[in-house]
Symmetry: C4
Subunit: 194 residues, 4 copies
């Protein structure tokens, strides 16, 4: 397949999903700053998902930079990943509207985990098609996929228990994901240099 065309297609979909997210923040029906700023919960959940999506874009961008080709298998991986992505606006709006409802937080947690898993599936499928690319080995090591995946699953289990006490904790998943990635990358670099 035409790699740069697949990239551009991914970017267009991600750009639209990001922008659809903001559509949930509505103008109040009265000229009132109080009502306008009462949407801050929605804005916060938007910020969280924005971080998650941009982080994911950055990671996937690095992978596409390293690979040489995308075949049917990789494209199916991309489709699954984009399909899960397209549920982010609705779960973000759900959690933004009812931040203290554990059900909304649970859905948010689950879709975030599902997206991570689909990203791993996509990586797996695309890397398999690029085994001969020399930069690939280095890339896989740096990604520290398994460390990150395990940490994220642990976080999801812990957070799932916690949201029944403090529901709002579910929304922090994107920040936790970014922190996990940074720590596991550091851990990896230390091991590699040891």
């Amino acid at each position: 397949m035409n790699k740069s065309r697949v990239e551009a297609f991914i970017d267009a979909i991600i750009a639209i999903v990001l922008t659809v997210l903001i559509l949930e923040i509505k103008v109040p029906d009265e000229p009132s700053l109080k009502m306008f700023f009462s949407e801050w919960r929605m804005a916060f959940s938007y910020l969280m998902t924005f971080i998650l999506v941009m982080f994911s874009w950055y990671v996937q961008h690095g992978m596409f930079l390293a690979i040489k080709r995308v075949k049917l298998g990789g494209f199916i991986g991309v489709c699954v990943w984009l399909f899960v992505l397209s549920f982010l606006p609705v779960t973000t709006a759900f959690v933004g509207r009812y931040p203290s409802y554990w059900g909304a937080e649970l859905v948010y947690l689950m879709v975030a985990l599902l997206w991570l898993l689909s990203a791993q599936l996509m990586s797996f499928l695309i890397i398999r098609e690029n085994r001969d690319v020399p930069e690939m080995k280095e890339f896989i090591r740096r990604q520290a996929g398994s460390v990150m995946l395990t940490s994220n699953i642990i976080w999801t289990v812990v957070a799932t228990a916690l949201i029944f006490v403090i529901p709002e904790i579910g929304m922090l998943t994107p920040i936790v994901t970014v922190i996990i990635q940074i720590i596991s990358n550091r851990h990896q670099s230390r091991q590699l240099s040891a």
Copy 2:
């Protein structure tokens, strides 16, 4: 015409149509998981159309990779194809909201067939402008257009009869289309190697 610009324009429109599809899944007016998941029918119809569009994107991508140029005729084919495509969100929402209403399923079936026909028209117009490209012959043979088209028309006729008994069957069209394509490609390969 500038082939890569036409490609990028197609991709932008398809990306937006795909994302518009998801806008129909609404956040419930109450903090209730039951109400949230009552939208699963909409999500299912979205998944179906997602498969149809991605499959179509893949096939068209292969064609654009092989061709050398797009002229006015081919561009008109692209326009017709995109015009029919842009009706997918509304028919998907219709079938997702009333999955057991035969009328919605019928409209879904008809627009899916219309889209297939418009894709064939586009292929025909673009291939005609690229007759001198050597990869074209091989591409046409592999596509097995007539086998697939006949099979799809048969499916539409059968499904149209069946939706009066089991309406939900209409929604399965995308899966059937993908299966038909895979089988006809296999059939073609066997014939070519025989």
Copy 3:
């Protein structure tokens, strides 16, 4: 400026405007084919604007293919053109909802003319920056700008009078514009070969 980046930016905006157009066609509140197809007027006005936008995309695409550069002046022309373009969805929805109201048809006619004028302004500004490009002269002659512009202004005047008798005539403007372009191109070719 980076010509291909300006092109991609234009395409993204046009793609979104095209898709926003279709959002006006709503799923009925009842499972009823009659109500679904009662939206045909909206679908027709959508088709008309779709033709206008695609036609305009094609003409502008030809110009961008021929030119070598875009400077600030040309970019301002592009901005004005895109600004007028972005009013097409609302005027299309207005005329689609009230096709027999002369006011809606008048607004549609005026925005269509305004868009044509802004396209002429854009062409003028961009061509001025590319005077040294040899293909430019040939391109200008083939475009037959003044013949087309005059014809379109005459159409607008005539249609403005007619919509008080048969309002629906305003919606036909896109088809008339395309026909005018085809005829003036032919006229031009004949004059050039004479």
Copy 4:
């Protein structure tokens, strides 16, 4: 990072934000020109934000043309800038609906300033990563960042005081920003040639 991919991603997001802006202009519920044109305030606020976004696109485009690379720091700058940008549709709709409410104008002023600050942050981060590019020095000097920033902050302070008397003044910020940029560029050119 892949510079042209980052550019295309930025452009997709900006294109969507621009188009989302226009969605706020609604078709009236009655066939009435009076009601249609009563949306002129919304259209005016849309025009203002359109100018601000296009101006910003132009400036950022110039920077991306000059630079050689984008790294993680610059990408974070881009993310912050795009995040602030994505709030423009809602503040524009707020100010368009209640143009004589000082609260809406204040929010509009603040988000516009925040966007300018985030653009400065992005420039700073990206320029730092491109210190070795020879065109960079010339670019920075021409931009006259500090003169422009100071002028804009002064404008925000003055306008914040004025909106309690004439609220509508807040909406003029985009025009003021453009004028400040033009004047500071001229001032800079004169100093450089002195």
